[in-house]
Symmetry: C2
Subunit: 340 residues, 2 copies
């Protein structure tokens, strides 16, 4: 930067002003300095800039699993909104490992980012508390710790389950199944609760069986599908709610192998509108998770907290999911081929 000053024939402080407060500099000097910057290919050192200024224009986003499309959407939503505010978002992927997540948080803490966004899989209150105790604003996404010790952005997962069951019931289905083990995952537990609520509202008119799966991955769905196929044949099942889209698609595949028609014999739907769920021959009805909105809202809350300073009151934003109806529950319709 001293070089730039010399080449431009001005003082070092003036170069700094050109970079940070261009309005405070006369147009002529400004041009001279910018010329020198271009000539020298000068790139300001953001480490020194942050050290001296004491503030950062970056936000750290820590996601537990970057291959999950919800978290990708969150990252994009956060990034786009942050860009509007002149901030940039750095993403660290924890690769489903708690220790890596901790390392990622510490990294951003050390880098003195202006704030951290955390999308964990399970409870991370301890880590959040540690970071927050260092005075770093932190917003948690997609997990409700219960304690309101930080801002949170959540999707109403109970409503997700409720919407799903409600939809099937509205379509005339009365013998439902909810597929998805691993109740220790918060979204699963909440969606299950919502499904139950919708079924209970029908007071006995609608039955519900709950099918555990070992894992939430396709193989788990294939196994569950075999079990469910028998239920369909026995006339005990006409509507399936899979807790994830991937599970739902696996189940459809098994049904197809058994010549069980979807949605003719049984309607199938997922719960976490996933880009991976597009491809099926039978597009899957699902529930939209509003990932872009979650990311955007999280940045908004973070900036608010930074602005508020000491007298900040934590806020929890609950986003409402939306039903996305496609043919796996209502029958065939392909946009590109309307005459079918």
């Amino acid at each position: 930067m001293a070089d730039v000053a010399r080449v431009a024939g001005v003082a070092l402080g003036t170069v700094s002003n050109v970079l940070n407060h261009p309005a405070k500099v006369s147009p002529a000097t400004l041009a001279k300095v910018q010329g020198a910057i271009a000539e020298l290919g000068f790139v300001r050192n953001s480490n020194a800039q942050q050290l001296a200024a004491g503030r950062s224009s970056s936000i750290g986003l820590v996601v537990i699993d970057i291959s999950n499309s919800l978290f990708v959407d969150i990252a994009r939503g956060a990034q786009r909104f942050a860009a509007e505010l002149g901030m940039n978002v750095l993403v660290a992927n924890s690769d489903n490992r708690a220790d890596q997540q901790r390392a990622d948080l510490d990294f951003f803490d050390e880098a003195r980012v202006s704030g951290i966004l955390l999308a964990p899989m399970e409870d991370a209150s301890d880590d959040v508390a540690r970071i927050r105790s260092h005075g770093r604003p932190t917003v948690v996404l997609n997990y409700d710790s219960g304690k309101a010790d930080c801002c949170q952005v959540l999707i109403d997962n109970e409503e997700v389950g409720y919407l799903a069951a409600r939809h099937l019931i509205d379509m005339g289905r009365t013998r439902l199944a909810f597929v998805g083990g691993r109740d220790y995952l918060q979204p699963v537990a909440l969606r299950r609760r919502g499904v139950r609520r919708a079924v209970e509202e029908e007071g006995g008119r609608v039955s519900l069986q709950e099918v555990p799966t070992e894992n939430l991955d396709p193989p788990g769905g294939l196994r569950a599908g075999e079990e469910l196929a028998g239920e369909v044949r026995a006339g005990r099942l006409d509507g399936v709610i899979a807790v994830t889209d991937l599970l739902g698609m696996a189940i459809i595949q098994v049904f197809n192998a058994h010549s069980i028609e979807v949605p003719g014999d049984v309607a199938v739907m997922g719960c976490d509108h996933n880009s991976a769920a597009w491809g099926g021959m039978i597009p899957l009805t699902s529930v939209q998770m509003q990932g872009l909105d979650m990311g955007r809202e999280a940045v908004r809350l973070l900036m608010a907290e930074i602005e508020d300073g000491a007298d900040h009151v934590h806020v929890t934003t609950m986003l409402q999911p939306e039903l996305v109806v496609r043919e796996s529950t209502v029958g065939r319709r392909i946009a590109a081929n309307p005459d079918l």
Copy 2:
């Protein structure tokens, strides 16, 4: 850090030694200092640390599209290998925008990261040249600029196309189609070339039609599928190579709507083994893109360049793709239900 020194009753320099050269400190002092660090909840300021030390332990990864599963795999591969080396990877998503990509590169440049990994969609030589001229090592992934002015990690996309066509021919298919417009995308052009080579090797025994699509997205596939369905019915087509998996799945969906059997009437395959391609009722044969390996290799090349310093010779690593055969070209087989 001065506080830590005071609490521990040692000099500031000793605290620095504890952090950076623990071996140079007596066990007793070490324990005292670590105690003080824990007590005060001290977190070192990495901006100051980098500024003073003049080196960074982070690598910047700029990807053009984080929702593309290849880039996600690259990120994971890079991150895992970097972690083994005690480095961490920061991901910036350019959201398919060239200006954002430039901003991301500049950001990492300003942050004085030890090196940059760039996975662009189209040519980015100018940007790379600019960054490199600042002395920052940069490795380009998945795009061959032609000029060997930096290390590159590529997948042999011509081989991808060749493997795909070779597979269909080996399965007895003789009337092929290659689907995928947008030849200005390097992977598309290369895969097309590979397909042609395989067909030419058969010297007229095998025919090939090339079907352009407006976009590489599912709607584009649906439209192409309609056209192809007519070709199948007319007996002019028995094997389809879609340049992406998503395109392939869309085509299968249209075939199914027309009661055309896959792979009975026509085999269909994709070219970029995509996690999104799992779900279909007919799992898609495709070609593995080795994303994890690409990420890993890119970090390896970057570290080598950093180590080599001035006398570094740029290297291009060409990874070989692998065929992943599934039922869309060979008939039904579902692992979970072997008796089908």
